[in-house]
């Protein structure tokens, strides 16, 4: 039977891992290997994807991916392979401390072969996703990088010197599960270690999930680079009555192992001492050979060593560590094979060796190598690790998940949580704070106004300061509390681990429109503001998904459009206020779905990337981390308000106040802005929006959506209801909903996708808005005569 046919809670043993290429390799690297025990924990509320327990951690897979894995059910109480752990009855003899990476033990003090003084000690910080790399990076360097509880928060490398060691440079790399490149961030990490040749590697290992983490460790050891293992989250292990025999682990791996708790800043000094020492003295791993001479007649062992001898000269020439090159050649890693430049005869010889190994071992090449690694890990863990049956964090997560990802409760809980977030943001906390800030800004504007009047300042200059700068920058500044509050809640959701669950149960729905569950995060943020929504797409593993998600984000109505809706609904449709407001949001989502189908069938053909993701345990968000994020957001927003928006406000004020001959004019119809707006009148006429003032307000909306209403109020005065029909108002509402995002959003899209995509998006959004608005206008005129 296949994995998707397994019953809930039933353990099974994996017999065969199907699929092909990188996805299959990724399965194997995640521990989905023949003979591993797996339990189906849960179906997502819509029946797909599924949550599995394997090697003591939770993994999500889609049914279509699970179909490729053959399993054999095991009786519940007779599972063959429990989590490797030391026997409770085993005699605890004190293990010898090998003293690796310590001066005076590994080599006599003052001896060794140190690097020349002044050499920059470069470190690569490498580890699995969500293993605490960025937390450790912050502790090591004193940096303030944001930490999340969502696999793949770090998508770019970050550098910093270790505190008190200016001669060092640590690079925090994106989390990876193996040295087989699966996603773009995994390629970043692998290339860094292979090409930039750091002086040493700090390998962070999550002690609560040590088996899977050591899989990467073994491949890093093959790189023949000095390395220290930082055994993170040891506090969680010991709190749950687990232990790790660090000395024994150090002896078996042949590299220094330092237990730490990055979050609690424990063991960091010792880690730094070891890391600096091994880098300075270039102390390489004592062990790289993990294959067993007796396992299945030593099939893998003989194959690996045979190929290693065969490619030795090529590996030397290509400057690739030999052992690493040999195992990658067996795995058929195309990138390594291309670099080795083997001759045809050699390729054929290798193929023969591999075929013989497959025959003797009874597993295909990739599975055999993965099995060899996991067999060694099992051996190491059985000698060194005493695992508690289940950690408190895991039990707590299971309890929470019964509701938050339960079959009947997940979607209602999600709706309630999101409704609460938006309600608290826009009404209670953010709304109230915004009201206070607006009062403060109004008071300040009033004071400035009075001061300028009393000082007898020229009216034109007075207008520039009060109607231009104070009104423009002030209106944008008033949104600061909303943005900070929204990010506060989104940060809580992400740091707690809930967003990963949302991606899990929304995957099936999103897959229908060609996206994966991970795209839900940017789309949700898009209801707040398009700018951070676009930036958050960086966590998506595929370029296709990223582009598609960015192009769909503007269809999620951002909060800045709310004043426009409120203004027109109050003026034209007061009886259907709530209905039309909700309708507009739904219309945006519906248009997004239609466009997604269009994209899926044209520009973005194919399927979304496989949904192979680890579900982290729920954790309490750190106050420092959240506060730091809020400060960054507030600082960024304020910087923007006093740079880009200040300049834009002044420019618009001048365009509004000057006529084409650069004389100040009181008559707005004669202004340069009106002249520009009239160019758009013929285009907007079919929508019932053939008034230059409407065109002006829509153009000002390009700078900031909030300014559409203020511009209309200035240009129309009080009587907008008498100046346009209800059909035109409906058309304007739809056009405002769908037309080009503001300049800040376009700038962020440009940063992510480049100028061509950004320009294309402006034209595309305007075209979609024009078509939709003209249809609405036509229906309004024909059906209702409104």
């Amino acid at each position: 039977m296949t994995l998707n046919e397994l019953k809930l809670g039933q353990p099974a043993m994996i017999k065969k891992v199907g699929g092909e290429g990188r996805l299959r390799q990724h399965f194997l690297d995640m521990g989905v290997i023949p003979n591993a025990e797996v339990t189906l924990v849960k179906y997502a509320p819509m029946g797909d994807p599924i949550e599995l327990l394997i090697h003591g951690y939770k993994l999500t897979l889609r049914l279509s991916e699970a179909e490729k894995i053959e399993v054999e059910p095991l009786e519940s109480k007779k599972s063959v392979k429990t989590a490797p752990s030391k026997s409770k009855n085993s005699k605890k003899s004190k293990s010898h401390h090998p003293g690796l990476g310590e001066e005076g033990r590994f080599h006599p003090k003052g001896s060794g072969d140190p690097l020349p003084e002044g050499t920059k000690l470069t470190f690569a910080l490498v580890g699995n996703q969500n293993s605490g790399k960025t937390t450790l990076f912050n502790q090591l360097t004193g940096a303030n990088q944001h930490v999340g509880n969502f696999p793949g928060v770090t998508v770019d490398r970050k550098d910093g010197a270790i505190k008190g060691h200016p001669e060092t440079l640590v690079t925090d790399l994106p989390g990876i599960y193996s040295m087989s490149p699966y996603s773009s961030e995994e390629i970043v990490s692998r290339n860094f270690v292979l090409n930039e040749k750091p002086k040493a590697i700090i390998n962070i290992v999550d002690a609560t999930n040590i088996e899977r983490n050591l899989y990467l460790t073994m491949q890093l050891l093959e790189m023949d680079v000095p390395m220290v293992v930082a055994l993170n989250m040891m506090d969680e292990v010991t709190a749950n009555a687990g232990t790790v025999d660090v000395n024994e682990l150090e002896a078996l791996l042949g590299v220094p192992v330092v237990p730490i708790s990055a979050a609690k800043n424990q063991g960091i000094d010792e880690l730094v001492r070891h890391a600096v020492h091994i880098a300075h003295y270039q102390e390489k791993p004592l062990r790289q050979d993990f294959c067993c001479e007796t396992d299945h007649g030593g099939a893998v062992h003989r194959c690996l060593h045979g190929i290693a001898h065969l490619i030795q000269d090529h590996a030397l020439k290509a400057d690739i560590p030999l052992r690493f090159a040999a195992s990658k050649v067996i795995e058929n890693d195309t990138l390594v094979l291309a670099q080795l430049m083997l001759e045809q005869n050699e390729k054929e010889m290798i193929e023969h060796i591999v075929l013989q190994m497959e025959k003797e071992r009874g597993l295909d090449r990739s599975a055999a190598i993965a099995d060899m690694r996991f067999a060694f890990i099992d051996k190491v863990c059985s000698q060194t690790v005493t695992k508690p049956k289940q950690s408190r964090e895991s039990i707590r997560s299971e309890k929470i998940d019964r509701i938050l990802t339960g079959k009947w409760t997940a979607i209602p809980a999600f709706i309630i949580i999101m409704a609460a977030v938006f309600f608290l943001t826009f009404n209670v906390i953010g709304g109230t704070l915004q009201g206070w800030l607006e009062t403060g800004i109004d008071a300040l504007t009033g004071l400035a106004d009075t001061a300028l009047t009393n000082a007898g300042v020229n009216e034109v200059i007075h207008g520039l300061v009060i109607d231009g700068i104070f009104a423009g920058v002030g209106s944008v500044l008033s949104f600061l509390p909303i943005i900070v509050t929204l990010f506060f809640f989104l940060s809580l959701l992400e740091d707690s681990g809930y967003i990963a669950r949302v991606a899990f149960f929304m995957d099936k729905l999103l897959r229908r429109i060609g996206l994966s569950g991970r795209s839900i995060v940017p789309l949700l943020i898009g209801f707040g503001c398009t700018v951070p929504a676009v930036m958050s797409t960086r966590t998506l593993p595929s370029e296709r998904d990223r582009k598609m998600t960015i192009l769909l984000t503007p269809f999620m109505s951002c909060t800045a459009k709310l004043p426009i809706y409120a203004f027109f609904v109050d003026a034209f449709f007061p009886r259907y206020k709530a209905l039309i407001m909700i309708g507009l949001y739904l219309f945006g989502i519906l248009t997004g779905i239609i466009v997604a189908f269009l994209f899926k069938g044209t520009m973005f053909k194919g399927e979304a990337v496989p949904f192979v993701m680890e579900l982290p345990n729920y954790r309490l968000p750190g106050a420092r981390n959240v506060a730091q994020l809020l400060w960054e957001k507030a600082k960024d927003f304020l910087t923007k308000a006093f740079t880009v928006i200040l300049v834009a406000t002044v420019v618009i004020w001048f365009l509004q106040s000057l006529d084409p001959h650069f004389n100040f004019t009181e008559v707005q119809e004669e202004s340069i802005l009106a002249m520009i707006s009239r160019l758009f009148v013929p285009v907007m006429k079919p929508l019932g929006l053939g008034d230059w003032r409407i065109c002006t307000s829509l153009i000002s909306g390009f700078m900031a959506k909030e300014s559409v209403v203020s511009t209309l109020e200035i240009l129309f005065g009080e009587g907008v209801e008498t100046m346009m029909s209800s059909a035109a108002a409906a058309s304007l509402l739809v056009f405002s909903l769908l037309y080009t995002p503001c300049v800040a959003a376009i700038a962020s899209i440009r940063r992510e996708l480049g100028s061509k995509w950004a320009a294309g998006l402006v034209v595309w959004q305007c075209a979609v808005a024009w078509v939709a608005a003209s249809v609405v206008h036509l229906i309004g005129v024909l059906v209702g005569g409104i």
Partner: protein, 48 residues
């Protein structure tokens, strides 16, 4: 034009000048703080 006109003009010019300088400075550095510290790393990148 009184003295306060001159003072306000200078103040506005200084504010706009500082804003433009801020924009140019960010542009020159290549990657200013985009505010998305969760996934950017731009600031750390600059320090290298």
């Amino acid at each position: 034009m009184n003295i306060w006109d001159v003072v306000v003009i200078i103040a506005v010019a200084a504010a706009v000048g500082a804003a433009v300088a801020g924009i140019v400075k960010n542009k020159k550095k290549g990657r200013g703080c985009c505010g998305d510290c969760s996934s950017c790393g731009g600031c750390a990148y600059k320090e290298r």
